[in-house]
Symmetry: C2
Subunit: 140 residues, 2 copies
Amino acid sequence: MERELEKLLKKSRLSVTDSRVKILELFFNQQGALAHGDIEKRTGEKFDRVTVYRTLQAFLTKGIIHTIPTNDNSIRYALCKDTCEEGHHHDNHVHFVCNDCGNTTCLEEIIIPEIKLPKGYASNQVEMIVSGICRACKKG
Amino acid sequence: MERELEKLLKKSRLSVTDSRVKILELFFNQQGALAHGDIEKRTGEKFDRVTVYRTLQAFLTKGIIHTIPTNDNSIRYALCKDTCEEGHHHDNHVHFVCNDCGNTTCLEEIIIPEIKLPKGYASNQVEMIVSGICRACKKG
DNA sequence: TAATAAGATGCAACTTTGTTGCAAAATATT
DNA sequence: AATATTTTGCAACAAAGTTGCATCTTATTA
């Protein structure tokens, strides 16, 4: 596990440090999205707030994670499945936000359908966020 | 105009005040979404920051405006075309965010296509945000 | 329309969130 | 192992958001 993470970091030309490995681990160990706050909580005040910000920023520009639009004031981040080139990142899957548990999940298998824009508009990226009750909460 | 706004406020059981009328006017006078910051700027420091927060909150719970998910840390608000019941708000149109001018527009005429969710998921609301270059910026 | 009740506003003080510069520490390179 | 390069944590700060409370405004009613 640690090895894999190291590889990913090295491939992205990021030096392998404690914080990066731990934070990356968090993403791998959970099937969903994390906000900055979640990460601070789950790392247990191990790293400085600034480090978390910078780590997320680094992962973002290297295309290791991507952002998911939200309705509240917190950017959510999730792992990119297919490796994305720096800068040019494109997700094409639907995101699901559970109103019960609050978790955000990537529905990798659900592809965002194409739409026709009005004349004069040029599309660059499309996001689709479905909210409702997730599988786990429906059962419970 | 003022009359219409007053009517809308009264219908929502909100008392008619200076700030509410002015802020509501802002929404009516522009075809797009506004973040808290935009509103503060455009009202020209006329109202206290706290008032703006509380006004938006009030409009939101009364179903006068709705939020649009964003990738940055700012909630964007837009007018609800069809009046929405309190709490239960449903938009079905696509939102467009211009990477050039930064404006968010409601594409009222573009309806969000239906999608099939994996088993066990229940959908409640769907948001679709397209980003790129808007008509105005493409011309300029 | 004046008096009262209900509600909204602004201020102050505070908390939370995010940013920047810089010295010290860790990692990478030779 | 020594040096160069990065990254980290701290401090100080800026921006964004929240809460309680006295004051003022709007609504209500007689």
